[in-house]
């Protein structure tokens, strides 16, 4: 379990993270989301031990992670831009990681095959997506317990995303923990158990994804005339009107809210499923802020 307590980090003239408190359980896929500059990468870099916190603590199973070889041996960090040098090859990277982690050669070969990568290929000449797949193969071939993947879906084509999600779910079942940051909320929703929304360096919302999504209800209504938000009988998290058709997202019990809307005599009233993106937008702001 990763426990983050009262974590603060600032860069010159900018407070990036303020009093972050988070607990990430074992065997979960944790989605870290937020707009650009919210502090997602900084948080992952702090957990990975790349950055040193100004104050607060990050512990893995009770052990501080920063500059702790033993604890860090349980953690694999894949940055948003994977490292490469001109002469680096998958085999050389494997050799490097083998010096730090217990490395499963057979698993590595299997993942390389899955992603269609060659051992002697130069990493510097690979596309961003290929590099990410390579590092993912390397990561999953180690005996690490926690995987920190920044911009997890960046550069991956739809097929690779599918393979990636399948692998993450399999590995989670095998006992691994994943902390993924991404702007692809739909992809995250498919695999995440829990999440945190970072906004302006603070944790705006976090918890179990299904539970939190269940707290919001989305309605689609059609009226005989155009109506405004003020006519909706409860506070709206989100209100969108397109002519006489209105989409409303609100917090509360579905039945109670529905009863109040029926009082407006809509021509049509449907309850729609709410997705992670809508949830995120309702928490952070409008699409314009993305």
């Amino acid at each position: 379990m990763i426990r983050i307590q009262k974590l603060n980090k600032s860069f010159p003239n900018k407070q990036v993270l303020s009093d972050i408190d988070l607990t990430i359980e074992d065997r979960t896929v944790f989605g870290l989301v937020g707009i650009n500059g919210a502090g997602k990468s900084t948080l992952l870099r702090l957990i990975a031990g790349v950055l040193k916190a100004d104050s607060g603590s990050i512990q893995l199973d009770g052990q501080t992670l920063y500059e702790n070889e033993k604890a860090k041996r349980q953690v694999f960090f894949l940055a948003d831009e994977p490292f490469s040098t001109p002469l680096l090859t998958p085999d050389k990277l494997k050799e490097l990681y083998s010096t730090f982690y217990k490395f499963d050669e057979a698993k590595f070969a299997r993942y390389l095959e899955t992603f269609g990568l060659k051992r002697k290929q130069q990493v510097g000449k690979m596309s961003k997506g290929m590099k990410r797949q390579l590092y993912l193969a390397l990561a999953l071939s180690t005996d690490c317990k926690v995987f920190l993947l920044d911009e997890a879906f960046d550069g991956l084509d739809p097929l690779a995303r599918l393979k990636f999600k399948r692998i993450v779910i399999e590995e989670k079942e095998a006992g691994k923990t994943f902390i993924l940051s991404s702007h692809s909320l739909r992809e995250l929703e498919d695999i995440s158990d829990s999440f945190a929304i970072l906004d302006g360096g603070n944790v705006k919302q976090n918890g179990n994804l299904l539970d939190e999504l269940g707290k919001l209800v989305k309605f689609q209504l059609a009226f005989e005339r155009e109506i405004s938000e003020s006519e909706i009988p409860f506070p709206c998290v989100s209100f969108k009107a397109s002519g006489r058709v209105v989409t409303v997202v609100a917090r509360g019990e579905e039945d109670a809210l529905k009863a109040q809307l029926e009082a407006l005599n809509p021509l049509l009233l449907d309850v729609l499923p709410i997705d992670f993106e809508e949830f995120f937008l309702s928490e952070v702001g409008t699409k314009e802020t993305l």
Binding site: A48, G49, A79, E81, F83
Partner: protein, 354 residues
């Protein structure tokens, strides 16, 4: 750590092979002249000792590299120690190969009964080899420290040049200061003509080659050049050793204070431009004015110092703190030069001289 060290050594094999072959080829140009061969070998060793830190640590100047290395389960101190050790192995092994790759010919020629023109080198090449190896460590040490004080690659190279020149100036100062007749506080001829740079064919040999050669010559007492072990030489060696070993220790010690988020940005370390600019400004103003004040040097050198601050601050407005240091440096340098003018007036300006 041991496994990682072996990996680092293995990873550097292609660069190692390339440098060794190039050095060997350079040395082979002087195939019949022992002095030139050793000069070329020493020069190659010196160049390698200075540039090696850039090769070893350049990955740390990109966000990608920092994310990669600092997330590995190894402490930063150990990471740096491994890099330094791998560098020393690189340095020693490469020099050993290209030195003996040439030096064996000297023995072969001396053993040839039909060849009467070659003297017996005795143990001279061995001593030269060992002393040069020993003296390359300090050079590598302070170069490593200099390079790793920067926050970006360009500044790293600027630091390499700036620090190496500083050490040369310091050694020159030590040498001249220890001369029996201290007529000059510093021998300005060395700086103005940069005689130091070409005194021994190649700049680097001026510092490690000459010292090494002289020491060796003293040890063997078998070489034609009359050399005695002098206080200057001992002081130069001690100074280099202290600087080099402090450099290595400092590199390992200060890594814990280096913030990963600063890498790629302006080099704000205490050992970077904050000290280098005023130091160079002081030295240049002092040296050029310690006989008598020369406006022709004061104005351009001060302007250069100000320009240095502008580059450092990335603005023509250098800030209050920098401005105070800049003005104070000019005042202190000229004040020190004035004191020197009074203590050691140049003899050729005295009435008796005429």
């Amino acid at each position: 750590m041991k496994q990682y060290f072996l990996y680092e050594c293995k990873k550097k094999l292609p660069a190692f092979a390339a440098f060794t072959i190039i050095s060997r080829l350079i040395c082979s140009i002087f195939r019949y002249n022992f002095i030139s061969i050793t000069a070329a070998q020493t020069a190659c060793l010196g160049v390698m000792a200075v540039l090696l830190p850039a090769y070893l640590f350049s990955d740390f100047y990109s966000k990608k590299g920092v994310d990669f290395y600092y997330s590995l389960p190894i402490t930063r101190e150990k990471l740096v120690i491994v890099k330094i050790l791998a560098g020393l192995v690189f340095l020693f092994a490469s020099y050993t190969i290209f030195f003996w790759g040439s030096a064996w010919k000297i023995y072969a020629a001396a053993l040839d009964p039909h060849n009467t023109t070659h003297y017996s080198p005795g143990l001279y090449p061995l001593w030269l080899y060992l002393t040069n190896l020993a003296l390359s460590v300090p050079l590598f040490g302070y170069s490593t420290f200099a390079f790793t004080r920067a926050n970006n690659l360009l500044d790293g190279f600027v630091h390499l040049v700036a620090y190496t020149l500083l050490v040369c100036i310091l050694l020159e100062f030590v040498s001249v200061w220890l001369e029996a007749e201290r007529q000059y506080f510093l021998n300005t001829n060395y700086f103005i003509s940069f005689e130091t740079l070409d005194r021994n064919t190649v700049f680097w040999q001026g510092k490690i080659g000459l010292t090494g050669t002289n020491l060796t010559e003293y040890m063997l007492e078998s070489y034609q050049v009359k050399t005695i072990i002098s206080p200057q030489m001992i002081a130069a060696i001690v100074t280099q050793a202290v600087l080099g070993l402090s450099g290595l220790a400092g590199t390992i010690f200060f890594v814990r204070f280096q913030k990963a988020e600063d890498l790629g940005g302006v080099s704000k370390s205490l050992f970077s431009y904050r000290v280098l600019i005023p130091l160079y400004l002081f030295i240049s103003l002092f040296i050029t004015n310690h006989f008598y004040f020369q406006l022709i040097t004061i104005i351009p050198l001060s302007a250069a110092g100000y320009l240095g601050y502008c580059l450092y601050a990335r603005s023509f407005v250098i800030g209050k703190k920098n401005a105070i240091v800049f003005v104070a440096t000019v005042v202190v340098a000229l004040g020190a030069a004035y004191i020197m003018q009074k203590i050691y007036p140049p003899t050729y300006l005295l009435p008796d001289y005429w």
